[in-house]
Symmetry: C2
Subunit: 794 residues, 2 copies
């Protein structure tokens, strides 16, 4: 169920040994211009930007365009990349990787690298290896297919690479083999009805090509002719004919199938290369061929992409008692963090809160990119200080979908981003950078954040609580305050936290009046929340337009929400007694074998005064799921209040769900942290813990930040480094290599009996306050950290 758990770690690769054990296991590759999601059975989803997300391999129907969905179901004709193999003598048929024939393989490996994916599939002595990588700058998939005869006897085979292209366009679609271009070329025209759309679309890459390095004996470009009565499991064109019919598709669903007859002696191997890509015209296709199928093309692409991904190396390498965690933190987590900042989730208008949090993660990998993102976001600030619902990334982009719905939390993320960015970089100079907005008004970063904070202070009701409008961080809470009166408990606490962070930064910069103003604002928010929303054991989620407090003990569903508790820890709203009650309530009401749910009990029907959230399926995404982004806030807050064990349990559940122990024992590994695991475990035990398989999530950035700053306690602090690890109590030691401000820190952490507090030595010298100042770039520091034995903390 908890699908990302289950890969075997094998150096920097992760390997899955069966297509049956985890049929939905998947991974993703991306480059500057595209994203390729690959399931272990060969199903695939590819997107690129022109400038909106576009596809070159389609479903067999007119598909609706939408944001990336979790738990996408596959079906026989789902887009994918496959290779049929027919034994010409025995008639045996199978397909690599697994679908569409679904023949049970004798051996199988779905091997996921940082920049490539490879399958090895063996049926009846024939081994097929399929691998794919992306070049750094092209929208193109580079495929290698190798066939090896491991059967010990000579074999006559036909190999049929099959790259379905699907329903390209109702206006115009066709496919045919082009010997002059060396492959199958499928053409289409993106449908349009308005003249202005033509000018926007005229240069679209409306063709899809499968180019080969070796000419095939036959081919088929017509999907229906390929399948015949046999369908995809036993296509007529393969099963009933010796050779493909070399057909074309004329305003019919095109496809790309090639046939290579092979005679393989025992041990012999043949290898083929293909480029699968969108293109605009013949010239573009020729250029693709020259670039990638010419000598050394694939190798050049691989080294280029490798160089690009070196930014995903991260700022830390760790060694802990959990080798699976080491592999995840050292390779997979920074890769996922980098993906977010690098690709902006393949949208032209990322939600402002996502954009800022994704680039909060980038602060640890590529601080310049993070800085640029902050400046870009601020350049789109409204004159009165509000941040827009989304940040436009390309000329002519528009706010779409959810970004057309007013949310009131976007300003909060500026100080949250800045805290991490400044800690990591010490770049206080960024606060003085002048940023012009679209009206041409220029203000410094600091002035713009002042404005944003004042906007938060203005958007309060008479009680001093933040209006929610049609949503805050929780998008689908869209009817709490649409009439303009409802308020958000979480947002009030988040505003308090943001104001407090900003007040602290102002104070450090000598902006004392502002520091005082914002610290007072934070206090006011905290006081208001304590007055109106403390519910006895936890903080309520908000108050609706009609004055109904919700997320409170009188509710049968949605009684407690995680976020207000997490942010009450961060904002300082909760005193010690309340803190203890809240933590106990979260344990009692939200903790599950699969992690901490975002709210509970899940809603089972519409509450018109809450909105869309309550219409979501219980256990899906926000409605009662283990929503990892919310769990990450909880983890962060627990670390900030020093609850290291509970924080670690939260972190570990995010990675592997209930089978974490089992996975660790078997050395299995997730390759990304998904945005949620299904919750509603009492209501729907069968599906609880199932992964969304969706790798777009702010969780990655928070998990990285917490690992660096809190778990390993290597957090920037002004011009220095504060060293205060918070290992879980069952770890007796850990080691980290931390890159920070141009220096390297070789950090060894152990426990020592008889000490009451953590002791830090740097290059043998004690560091009484745990803070190292005056860091010299280029220098390598040796850091020893001794933690008190568990139970001996003073």
């Amino acid at each position: 169920m908890t699908a990302p758990c289950g890969f075997e770690a094998d150096g920097r690769r992760c390997v899955l040994r069966s297509p049956l054990a985890m049929p939905h296991a998947s991974t993703f590759l991306w480059n500057r211009r595209m994203l390729l999601q690959l399931g272990c059975r060969g199903y695939a989803t590819a997107q690129f930007m022109q400038p909106e997300p576009a596809k070159y391999a389609h479903a067999p129907v007119l598909e609706a365009r939408t944001f990336m969905q979790p738990e996408q179901p596959t079906y026989a004709h789902h887009p994918g990349r496959f290779c049929y193999v027919k034994d010409e003598d025995a008639g045996l048929l199978f397909s690599a990787p697994h679908a569409p024939v679904n023949r049970r393989p004798d051996a199988f490996a779905f091997s996921v690298g940082v920049a490539d994916v490879e399958w090895t599939v063996r049926c009846d002595g024939i081994e097929v290896a399929m691998s794919v990588a992306l070049p750094p700058d092209d929208v193109a998939e580079l495929w290698t297919i190798r066939v090896r005869n491991r059967s010990g006897r000579a074999r006559r085979l036909s190999l049929y690479p099959y790259f379905p292209v699907g329903y390209m366009s109702w206006m115009n679609q066709a496919g045919r083999y082009r010997a002059d271009l060396g492959g199958i070329v499928c053409t289409s025209v993106t449908p349009y009805q308005k003249v202005e759309d033509w000018f926007r679309q005229r240069d679209f890459l409306d063709r899809t090509v499968l180019l080969h390095d070796r000419a095939p004996a036959a081919w088929e470009a017509n999907q229906a002719a390929f399948e015949g009565e046999g369908g995809l499991t036993t296509p007529d064109a393969i099963v009933s004919r010796a050779r493909l019919a070399c057909g074309d598709a004329l305003y019919e669903t095109p496809t790309a199938v090639l046939q290579y007859p092979l005679e393989l002696l025992p041990g012999a191997e043949e290898s083929f290369r293909f480029v699968f890509a969108p293109a605009r015209d013949d010239a573009g296709i020729k250029a693709l061929r020259a670039r990638h199928l010419g000598a050394g093309g694939f190798e050049r692409a691989a080294s280029g992409q490798q160089a690009r991904l070196s930014a995903a190396r991260g700022c830390i390498e760790v060694e802990t008692p959990d080798p699976w965690f080491d592999a995840f933190v050292n390779h997979w987590l920074p890769r996922q963090v980098f993906y977010h900042g690098d690709s902006n989730r393949l949208t032209t208008d990322p939600q402002t809160r996502n954009y800022l949090q994704d680039h909060m993660g980038m602060a640890y990998l590529d601080p310049q990119a993070a800085r640029a993102a902050l400046l870009r976001a601020l350049s789109q600030q409204a004159p009165e200080g509000a941040m827009p619902d989304g940040i436009l990334l390309v000329e002519g982009a528009q706010l779409k979908y959810i970004n057309q719905v007013p949310h009131t939390d976007h300003c909060v993320w500026l100080p949250v981003f800045l805290e991490a960015y400044l800690d990591e970089t010490g770049d206080l100079a960024v606060l003085d950078v002048a940023v012009a907005d679209r009206d041409g008004t220029t203000r410094s970063v600091a002035e713009r954040i002042d404005l944003a904070m004042r906007w938060l202070l203005v958007q309060r009701d008479g009680r001093g609580l933040s209006y929610i409008a049609q949503g805050d961080w929780c998008d689908p809470m869209n009817m709490v305050g649409w009439k303009g009166r409802g308020v958000s408990g979480w947002l009030s606490l988040a505003s308090a936290h943001a104001l407090r962070l900003w007040a602290g930064i102002c104070r450090r910069c000598g902006r004392d009046p502002e520091a005082g103003e914002f610290a007072a604002g934070a206090q006011a928010f905290n006081a208001a929340v304590n007055e109106w929303l403390w519910d006895g054991d936890w903080y309520a989620r908000g108050i609706t337009d009609d004055g109904v407090v919700f997320g409170a003990r009188h509710d049968a569903e949605g009684r407690i929400y995680l976020n207000p508790q997490s942010w009450a820890l961060l904002s300082g709203a909760a005193d010690d007694e309340r803190r203890a009650r809240m933590v106990a309530a979260v344990e009692a009401e939200l903790a599950s074998p699969w992690g901490v749910a975002m709210l509970g009990p899940p809603y089972t029907g519409m509450r018109e005064d809450v909105g869309r959230l309550t219409q979501k399926f219980p256990g899906s995404a926000e409605n009662g799921a283990i929503y990892n982004h919310a769990a990450a806030f909880w983890m962060h807050a627990l670390y900030r209040v020093g609850d290291a064990d509970r924080a670690w349990r939260t972190l570990r559940a995010m990675l592997a769900g209930p089978d974490a122990d089992d996975c660790i024992r078997r050395g299995q590994l997730p390759v990304f942290v998904p945005n949620y695991y299904r919750g509603a475990w009492r209501l729907h035990p069968r599906t609880a813990g199932r992964s969304s398989q969706l790798f777009n999530t702010g969780t990655a950035a928070w998990m990285y930040r917490c690992t660096v700053e809190s778990l390993f306690g290597l957090r920037g602090d002004g011009d220095g480094l504060r060293i205060a690890p918070q290992l879980p109590s069952h770890w007796s030691r850990a080691r980290a290599l931390r890159r920070f401000r141009g220096a390297e820190f070789d950090v060894r952490i152990g426990r020592e009996s008889g000490i009451a507090a953590t002791r830090v030595h740097v290059d043998g010298t004690p560091l009484p306050d745990g803070r190292l100042a005056g860091i010299e770039a280029g220098r390598r520091y040796r850091v020893e950290v001794r933690l008190p034995e568990v139970g001996e903390v003073g």
Copy 2:
């Protein structure tokens, strides 16, 4: 290839005997609220209105909503209605009607009635009959499945009705068996993001149910669990298990599969009834069950629907030398005409030209409906006389898709509609009806049509030709005049025709000043077209924004368009010499074995000064296809100029393409006239003649009108009936029963040697001018028509 040809006529049913011969053969059922398109293999597309078109059985992906597409490709998981049969002893598996198992049947019949569809499928001695009908007022499919043992030995079987429900919603979807409701209930929530959408959607029928009359032994509501590794061809749940697992779908793709174990003695039969429908809640489901699965429910629905469809009886019944044509005109054609007027093509904003032409057809079936449509259309006229691009049919509807693109021809269709409506009804009183528009201004119908005609006269350039804006009748000609200068030759001729028709009506009503004004306007249009667009052998299609004449001899592609020629015959623009040249040019340039193409040669690439048309696939829809709606104008024009043989050939090609003779010989029949057959026969001979399978087309109304008015020559004329048949020369006789203004006319037509002109007798009395006045409602007239022998016309 020409799919509608191929059914065997069997009384009022049409039967197809193989799922392999015409895999795309399809038909449709509809009632007041829904449409069900059924392919012979069991694939199905259902739509209903709430108020926009909605679905209750979905594709396996998020499907894009679009207008009804031609030539929709199917694939294994396409929505459909199926029944698996497993022999419990022999392990044999097949599915009725054919998909998804696709086992070659021993016997097969796809039998299409006016109000029901039935399949009979026999495999290995087991006969399955599946039939479906719709109730008159409910969105519900009423299915009967009968299984009969024809094998002569006792059999143990399991029957698995399988109704895939598909991907209902990304927000919320589930499915489970509800014993209390008697069936599988799949739930979902239509996704929305904006608060205002919730109020529009809260009452949507978001559930899909399969209700049974007999409780099953087991069931499955989870699509993935049903298929397992075997997929749809050999589902694990059927092949690997004795009983379905009684599973549910929890935020997973739901499905509806039931299992009935049967022990059948030789000759024994079992019968099952099911209701497949959308519903809102439990109460709605109970009501569906009570209404349709209670005693006599199916029978009540059938008689109700039959009563409703009696309006599709039409105004004529014919008997000709072509029995297939008789069946088509007597049953299938009026059914298709009625479908258009009754359902308005399942849209809330039909294009104005479609709406008026569809209701032109209704003039012959249900004149009151036609009259109401005219008044509704005029109530949406703009103050300056322009007709809108679409007619809004429900409160809150909006102009969508193509109706947001400005077209300039909509006014033309008012007199075209009126000519037919007034001829058929004599209802001149309609011209005095006061029609209020949305501004509250009230004008009579006649005044509104005056306004519309004057708008056509105003929308001319300095040459006196009609501006085209972003399109006229040919929607995708969207870039000829988008800059505001380009003109349409066809529209100028159509305006001339419309003005002439309206002038004639005005004259009949004693509105002589208006008659003079509009007759002069018509002449001016004709003169301008003759001056600027006569190209030597035909009329050009138009002049672009940049002054380029197109659809003319200097063009390599799109050299000649059919519509300007047809309408030049109607408008009177062409003198005898030009008429002869035009007809010859159409024969030479546009005629093909499959009928008359809309333009030729087809475009093979974008012409930016013509637009979207040139991006359409050659042979698809407008670009060089046998576009039947355009062919119908040609037919109508040919009849109007007395070219009966050429008109008949055009008509016959519209029905059966190149295989017409063959179909006639075999007694085969189309069940609807499709909107096009693929053209581009020189460029793409493989696909030329293929039917679009799309039954939405103005062709039906025009074909009915021409059959009644011209072929049989029984056309209203003021308060009388004008009798002037135009039989094709190879017909020596024909007979018709014509219902007209409450009277019945039993018309026998024959040829006689030695006469120079047609002679008509009514009840034995000669009718010298062929016009019968003073018709008495309730009376039955005996009409004898003697035509000159071919070659003897004077």
